[in-house]
């Protein structure tokens, strides 16, 4: 079956512009996660959605970052007024309720000039 998909695969933007990154999780997976991986760094948790519960936003680095998940499926991560330090690969993962193994999408490589 189809895995997690993300779009765009690459995004180049200018400092100060807003960007939207999209994630389509595996059908039927109730949990959805966003991570960020900066060059040479490990994965950094950003936000987590589980069903209809309020999202866990504890990993968002600033109020310029927000995410929503519509209809319990597709998710959009929005970064407002992008900064150069936002340049990274943004990974989305989804997981069934059990087991908790996360399945990752191919990521979006964001470059802020």
């Amino acid at each position: 079956g189809a895995g997690v998909s993300q779009s765009p695969s690459n995004k180049v933007t200018e400092k100060g512009k807003d960007v939207e990154l999209r994630c389509d999780p595996i059908s039927g997976h109730t949990a959805l996660y966003w991570y960020r991986q900066s060059l040479g760094q490990g994965l950094e948790f950003l936000i987590y959605f589980q069903g209809n519960s309020a999202p866990d936003k504890s990993g968002l680095p600033s109020d310029r970052f927000s995410a929503e998940r519509t209809g319990g499926s597709v998710s959009t991560l929005t970064i407002q007024r992008t900064q150069q330090e936002d340049s990274a690969v943004y990974l989305c993962a989804s997981s069934p309720r059990t087991p908790p193994t996360q399945y990752f999408g191919p990521g979006t490589r964001l470059l802020v000039l």
């Binding site: 760094q41 490990g42 994965l43 589980q50 193994t101 490589r109």
Partner: protein, 111 residues
């Protein structure tokens, strides 16, 4: 705060060598430890470990968890160039909402 540390940071070996990658963790209410292989952008799942001392094996890869030492190792025998990747270790806490990842070990296997 949950913490995961992997070692070594990087490793260069030749085909046929055996490698051991280490992962140590500090987590409140440990639930599971997972290993991922990351070749390009997206990590792919390798193993999930929940019980101490039980080896999980898949082909040339194997992994074991030691809850007493708060650590896990990932072994790769008879390495091949296709094993070149970043290997990530992550831990999940009971009732937690996300995985905490280590910094990864970059493995390069030379022909």
């Amino acid at each position: 705060e949950d913490k995961v540390v992997q070692s070594p940071l990087s490793l260069v070996v030749h085909e046929g060598d055996t490698v051991t990658l280490n992962c140590s963790y500090e987590v409140t209410n440990f639930r599971s430890l997972l290993w991922y292989k990351q070749e390009k952008k997206a990590p792919t799942f390798l193993f999930m470990l929940t019980s101490s001392g039980i080896e999980k094996k898949s082909g040339r890869l194997s992994s074991i968890l030691d809850k007493k030492e708060l650590s896990s190792i990932l072994n790769i025998t008879a390495t091949q160039t296709g094993d070149s990747a970043i290997y990530l270790c992550a831990v999940e806490a009971l009732g937690g909402n996300m995985l905490t990842f280590g910094g990864g070990t970059r493995l390069m296997v030379k022909p």
